[in-house]
Subunit: 175 residues, 2 copies
């Protein structure tokens, strides 16, 4: 087993022992159980760049539409310039959340979500996510967990919102 | 310009000329404008496999949580076995839709969506998408387009639903 896998084992062992776990690859700060969260609580992620090369390679695998693949074609399209696939913006948002942007003790396990993309993500955009806890519902049937609703805005370096996601997450209680 | 980009140019030129366009990489069948669609209309995509190697590499870039990265750790987790990131299932669903699974003449441009993952996607699952048109709303302010609501179920080879997505799409009218 590699060193990397070893550190993941350690994180998971602590997680299932009910102790705060470091995010794999994350900053390793405090991690929150259901009981630690309050409605209105806010979290801000680190920042990551979305590059033109990755926009095109992601799109060529998952969303091969002209406006994600070719600048000239994108210029003439609905998007009026090269735009990342919304799924690329969503996936990068997830990475920012996993890396400490939404530091939940049991990891980020989504049960369902709503999402919109109010404007395109462009090559070279520096993205971060601002999240707010909007609801907390302990489970009636499973006393060890609950559902937390979080609203996350993914913003570019001009502070424009490129994605709004409201997600229901399975969150463990302290036990 | 590569041959590949050339074929994309051709597709977009036809698209903006108002003629049916082949999906890049797709089967090249009929493409539907707003006026061609009816509520209740159904489409079925091709099938693609989601491999264990790609589940792990996708997760290591976008969703580096133990249950997406390591089989032993996944076995002990919420998912009770290695599971694809929901964002990987979503991205592969998009590829199936772009490749002819939801053949809209202007391409697939999402304005917003709801999504849930009722069960995990597993290594080796063969996925396809079954879509149904559930609403059609011509735009009042933009006579050249409208919003189509489609509900897509992503199913594995056991015909179990792994993702349900209801998406609002910008669809052009014939003109």
């Amino acid at each position: 087993m590699s060193e990397d896998a070893g550190s993941v084992v350690t994180a998971v062992e602590r997680l299932y022992a009910g102790e705060p776990a470091d995010a794999p690859g994350g900053a390793g700060g405090e991690r929150f159980f259901l009981d630690d969260l309050t409605v209105g609580q806010r979290f801000v992620s680190a920042t990551r760049e979305i590059s033109k090369a990755r926009i095109m390679s992601f799109a060529s695998e998952f969303d091969p539409q002209p406006f994600h693949l070719n600048e000239d074609l994108a210029q003439a399209s609905f998007f009026k310039g090269l735009a990342a696939s919304g799924w690329h913006t969503a996936a990068l948002t997830m990475r920012l959340l996993v890396d400490g942007g939404l530091p939940l003790a049991g990891g980020l396990i989504g049960a369902g979500l709503e999402m919109e993309w109010p404007r395109p993500t462009r090559p070279g955009d520096m993205l971060h996510v601002e999240s707010e806890i909007v609801a907390i519902s302990p489970s009636k049937s499973r006393p060890d967990r609950g559902i937390v609703t979080a609203r996350g805005e993914t913003r570019n370096h001009r502070n424009e919102v490129v994605q709004i996601m409201t997600v229901k997450l399975v969150v463990m209680r302290k036990s």
